[in-house]
Amino acid sequence: MSSQPNAQRQVYLDHSATTPVRPEVLAAMLPYFAGKFGNASSIHRWGYEAREAINDAREKVASLIGASPSEILFTSGGTEADNLAIRGVAHARRSRGNHLITSQIEHHAVLHTFEVLQKEGFEVTFLPCDKYGLIDPDDVRKAIRKDTILVSIMHGQNEVGTVEPIKEIGEIAREHGALFHSDAVQSAGKIPIDVKELNVDLLTLSSHKIYGPKGVGALYVTKGVRLTPQVTGGAHERRMRAGTENVPGIVGFGEACRLAKAELPEESARLTKLRDKLIEGLLNEIPDVVLNGHPVLRLPHNVNVSVKYLEGESILLNLDRMGVAASSGSACTSGSLEPSHVLLAMGLSHETTHGSLRFSLGMSNTEEDINYVLEILPPIVEKLRAMSPLGPGSVL
């Protein structure tokens, strides 16, 4: 964006947008670009090498979420996995029913897919959430019907970090014979996931949020569930997703999952501590700041606050100049000029959505980074508020 004349540090706090590929992952991938370049469908040694590498990665991905390797389908990312789960189930089970349930706070990859299905003639219930961004399992119970074929509720909310009660929701879906899909792109590798324990039939994963490469993801599909393929062609991925496999990407994703699993308990505790320090600091040191999302049922790496009377982009530009990367749910940063649908569903006023800031923490962040943000943000807010016509003592 801009030059950063005043940056004393570079602090990346946008890990929910994407993460760097970690060195171990990159090292694992490199042999598969030129040397071991085979097509996993080929019969010869080159093919065998690629196949072995994919199998190995499949085991690592499965192991992160308590699945068996045969239940993992590789895709081009979280978006495709969401599409495959939702369209794949809807189209495969249309003869059993026409009703689908999701929530108003899903990622666009889920939300827009359901909107398309609605246009195709499916009946879709979009459940609301409470002011913390929590979906009430009772609402699922009330909405579910005999002809409900799929329930899709995300695990960890990407903007506000709220962790949804998917175990309870999965149980309700199961009792009623509906399949349950959950988007775990933000929660995987951050909090423990066991698909069997969580009553999930389909689960979406993405590699680039956990220090793997972009353009790779996976869909967990529990044994016995058939999906209508959305990408047709060869017999790849148990005939449910055609296309020559992205071997280096898949290898990197596998390694990222292995490392995430090994480091999860420690890293999750470390991030939670940093998260709480940042939240506390922001609430204490800047007047008229509110926390968005649930105070406790929250992803360890997510901080989301609204700075009242201000607009997010103006804060982000100032932070960027000081070397700090974050994001906002403000209408002015969205491209569509609509404020975040998640914050609106939580009942925030238009103005409060404007001043929303998300800091998403990751591996590289230290306590000094948090201290730095807490040092530079208050004067930025003060300067911008002096410019704002809104405020507690506003002349309006």
Partner: protein
């Protein structure tokens, strides 16, 4: 995303604040994304003697606010009424396409402040496509929201 001139006006905005006992006040809301700009004017001998702005909005909104105050300071009211949104954006060396609407706020707020001055003077308000009516509606909605909090 923004050019250097926009960034300069954003980081070092000119004429920020609120004039005491202003001769004209203009406040407009941006219907596209809900942002707000407020202009206060001091007018002497039919010229804009002093001008200050306050803006709740994105980088482009703040930069265009700053730019328009520079453009109209010292102009006669007639000249200031001629300054268009497009001119403000051009003076900044252009804005990204999705940010062009932000520049609407700037010139409109100045025009609204001049109309307010005319009204206070009991002068006939020039028939300016009736948009001043819109402005007052936006004012109210802003009022209501901020008092709710």
């Amino acid at each position: 995303m923004y050019n250097d001139k926009v960034m300069d006006h954003f980081f070092n905005p000119r004429n920020v604040g609120e004039l005491e006992n202003p001769d004209g006040v203009g406040q407009v809301g941006n219907p596209v994304c809900g942002d707000t700009m407020r202009i206060t004017l001091k007018i002497k001998d039919n010229r804009i003697e002093d001008i200050k702005f306050r803006t709740f909005g994105c980088g482009a909104a703040i930069a265009t606010s700053s730019m328009v105050t520079e453009l109209v300071k010292g102009l006669t009211l007639e000249e200031a009424l001629e300054v268009s949104n497009k001119q403000v954006a051009e003076s900044l060396g252009g804005l990204p396409p999705q940010k062009l609407h932000c520049s609407n706020l700037a010139a409109e707020a100045v025009h609204a402040a001049i109309q307010d001055y005319y009204k206070k003077q009991g002068l006939v308000v020039s028939d300016d496509n009736g948009s001043s009516h819109d402005h007052s509606t936006h004012d109210h909605s802003v009022d209501d929201e901020s008092s709710e909090e």
